[in-house]
């Protein structure tokens, strides 16, 4: 439904988006992930025809947003980062205005506005001035606006930003409901949201595609090592020294952060260590290393009071992806991207 091929956007000599290639299939819900300034908003604006790409080619439902703007604009519901709201209009008036803008036939406007109000839970405030609504409601009005005209494609730029947890859950629920009938591309920097809603995640950083995959697979595939959390009763320095001697252990650090040390009674429970195994170990090998850790510390009479794996969440992946600068990883990811095509 949405197709980008080697799309770039420069502002002067600075590239906001560089050589971006991905596609979103019909009915798919895709999360668009990246830190501030990664080029998410720019990409979405290019898709909606708000600005032309400097280079490359992109289509929405087979139409070029610049060459055939009306064809594209009629098929897209767009919620920009800042909801485009007129503070001096009531919610209903505003949605009617949008329905006219989107060329909804006169006889269907009423139904569509009513439906949008209902779906976004705005029925109670439909006759209030938008300027008098809370931030959460305004965000919903923005979303309702995107739904007007029953566009097959929804582009949602940070749809849950500024909402309270209850509202976030509601909006996520709504997006999930929309998933079946719409193609959705939503950007976010709230990772649980993407994990919760999206079937696929596209991660960009500094205008470049970093990775794209299903949330779970992405987490697994990009794991760089296995992390454990270790708590021992006894001298942490000695433990560290011993553990470093074990083959398969990549690093051992004493975690001196107060919150890691615990307080009061818990402090007596021992000192915490952060332990990372060599990456790429087979499952069996990993277990062997863990057994080795146990026996080594037992021999030195340093009891292990806790040994727990640290689960690698998408959040960590994300952080790693966007902070990793080493050429090794760049090549790695790029080759993966190539395989994906």
């Amino acid at each position: 439904m949405i197709q980008l091929e080697h799309v770039s956007k420069w502002y002067g000599s600075r590239a906001a988006v560089e050589d971006l290639t991905f596609s979103v299939a019909e009915g798919e819900v895709v999360g668009f992930l990246g830190p501030n300034g990664a080029g998410k908003t720019t990409t979405m604006r290019m898709i909606t025809g708000y600005m032309p790409p400097s280079d490359g080619h992109l289509t929405v439902a087979g139409f070029d947003p610049i060459e055939e703007p009306f064809e594209v604009k009629q098929r897209i519901g767009y919620l920009p980062e800042n909801p485009p709201l007129y503070a001096d209009m009531t919610v209903t008036d505003y949605l009617y205005f949008v329905s006219e803008l989107k060329r909804v036939p006169r006889e269907r406007r009423r139904a569509q506005v009513g439906q949008a109000l209902e779906r976004t839970g705005l029925t109670g405030v439909s006759n209030r001035l938008i300027g008098h609504l809370s931030r959460g409601y305004r965000q919903r009005v923005g979303l309702a606006q995107a739904l007007i005209g029953e566009p097959p494609v929804l582009i949602l730029d940070e749809p849950t930003v500024g909402l309270d947890p209850q509202q976030i859950i509601e909006i996520r629920q709504l997006i999930k409901e929309l998933a079946g009938s719409h193609t959705v591309l939503l950007s976010s920097h709230i990772l649980p949201e993407v994990q919760a809603i999206c079937e696929r995640v596209i991660i960009i950083n500094k205008g470049r595609l970093v990775a794209q995959d299903e949330p779970a697979r992405l987490a697994e595939r990009l794991r760089t090592g296995t992390e454990f959390r270790l708590r021992v009763q006894g001298p942490a320095d000695r433990a560290q020294q011993l553990l470093r001697g074990i083959a398969g252990v990549r690093s051992v650090e004493i975690d001196r952060k107060p919150e890691s040390q615990g307080t009061g009674q818990a402090r007596a429970a021992g000192e915490a260590l952060q332990l990372v195994l060599e990456p790429g170990l087979e499952t069996g090998e990993s277990e062997n290393v863990r057994a080795q850790i146990f026996f080594t510390l037992a021999e030195a009479r340093i009891p292990i009071v806790e040994l727990s794996p640290v689960r690698v969440s998408l959040e960590d992946v994300f952080l790693q992806l966007v902070t990793e600068e080493q050429p090794h990883h760049d090549a790695h990811v790029t080759s993966q991207g190539g395989a994906e095509r």
Partner: protein, 737 residues
Amino acid sequence: MSGLWTIYRKELRSFLVAPLTYVLVGIFLVLGGYFFWVTVVTSGIASLAGFFGNTAIVLIFLMPVLTMRLWSEEEAKGTAELLLTSPVSLGQIVVGKYLAAVTLFAGMLVLTAGYPLVLYLFGDPQTGPLIAGYIGFLLLGAAFIAAGMFTSTLTDNQVIAAVTGFGILLLLWLLQWAGDALGGGAGEVLRNLSAITHFVSFSDGLLAAPDVIYYLAVIVGFLLLAIRNLGRRLWRSLETGAQSVLLTAALVGILVVVNILAARMPWQLDLSAEGRFTLSDQTKQVLREQLPGPVEITAFVRTGDDSPVPDLVRAYAKASDRVQVSIVDPLREPSLAQQYGVQQYDTVVVQQGGRTRKITPDSLYTLASDGFSTEFNGEQAITRAILELVHEQDRKVAFLIGHGEVASEDELASLFSDLEGEGYSTEFFNLAETGSIPAATSVVAVAGPQSDLGAQELDVLRRFVQAGGKLLLLLDPVTRALPGWESLAGQLGVQVTSHIVVDPERAAFLDVLSPMPELLAHPITNPLIERRMEVLLPRSVGLVVREEGAASGGGAAGAPGEIKTSALLRTSSEAWGEKIQQRVQVRKDPEDPVGPFILAVAVEGRVAEPVTDSEAASKRSSTASGGTGADGSGQDASQPGAESEGEWQPLAVVVGNSTFIRGQFLNLQGNRDFLLNALNWLTGRKSLISIRPKVFKVPTIALTPRLVWNTFYAFVVIMPLASLFVGGWTWWRRRAL
């Protein structure tokens, strides 16, 4: 189109719920109402021209504030992203918003409907200028709104948009001053680009193509620029900064060219009551069919004067490609004014084929019969000047010298300049030297001889008159006897007394030696009588008409056939004659002859012999209806039988005074007109065309003091407050939504 309609309605609605709108409307009504009150109610003129002119300046400040939000706000609030990603075109967005603002402005004009209502209730306004004024005001506002729409697309900051818009409007306004200061062709181009230049004639009742096209061009230009501003982000734009500057310059250039081309477009709708912008069919025909070459018309008008002259001469330029017109402020271009000897504002100089006619304001304006309005004869005067330049040779007036006559160029400079403007060439000649009258002389003028005429000279002059030559004889009171001159006058049926005229009843400034004689009806004096002008003749010699009416010359030495005399100027019957001395004793003695005396005589005769070719031409058209302001009826009556042999021909004008043509005396009262009329009558210059003068009636309105204050309260206090109240109420009503 549906997109445009959607945007339009949304925008209009935004205006109507914004408190700022009501504040602006309130300010507009306060100032507009005040200007109306000052220029109409308190001054008694039933015209909205003053209201429009002053309020137009208010628009320079108001309009940018009204329009600043049009796009800047969309940009600042992020709603631009909604509009630009919706299936509406940029044109629909820009034009929709623009039309909404124009509609609001039109609504503001509707709120001023009370002004014309007052005019119609208590005065007699002219409907045409009123309608044209409103159309012009709407166009002006619409052009300002377009400029504001454009500046609003430059920035997301409304204050910057408003200030920029204000700057542009001020520039459009001031271009006229710049044009005035610059002068010449470049100045005219600048003036033509100014929004004020094109605004002025609307409230006089003219809907002219150049003015309308100017505003439409400004509107279209700014809207295109606005669309391009928005499109620069939206389109796959390849233009660089330099290209975009070029593109803007090209667009502005095209608009300038369109405007310059439009300036010569003749289409116009004249809604003024007196048709001040429309030339008569006669003039149009003259311009169309009778111009052998280019005609230049230069009007000397003071900048800022409410003069009909510029409108009139521009109408000539529009009517014919061969007419070149320039409007000159003599203060700014004194050298040009000096070149043509222009001494008064509203002087028009017409040039054709190297010859010049100067039309002074005296022949442009006359007081209408109601004693209040002005009649404007400009078209008659200019068209006549053109016809004369095209069809007539200059006539030569030869001033005889050698007998102590006025011979100084200085003393006659003013007269000569006027004569030149009227199509006369002048020269001095001494008959004793030349022995004959200079060739092609139409009129021999003798201005105050102090010594007598020789016998040979007398003979030459007699023969000249017998051959149909014209004589202007201005005789002064002279102490010695002048039998030669008396004989010449006698042959013309006029006896010269040896007394200086004392008229205690009709005298200027109680100087009994400066009679202001009664004007007797004659083609020479009629225009002065109509205009209630006097002739002032300091130190005059009394004349006696020997035989009033038709008589035979009877003189022994070759009578010129029958002659007919008509007295032109006559003293009161209280006048008497004093003996001519160096120091005149003004005391009525029994032996002093008593008045009334004749001070000027027109002489006609029947001339049998054919005259010279040039004289024949004038003879053919020669009638009794000469003079600057001759009426058409006299001309018509004299047409039949113009070729007949026995027709009465002007022969001479004899005046018992020559002082009145000297130096500044010429400018006193009707002296100049009297002399010019006499010359025109002598040379048989008829009015070549007769165009009804335009009467400029000042529409009036009279309100009782009570009503004056009621209109003040209604328009300056209540209406604006009502606007603020509605705004406040709107806010209050929506406050709880």
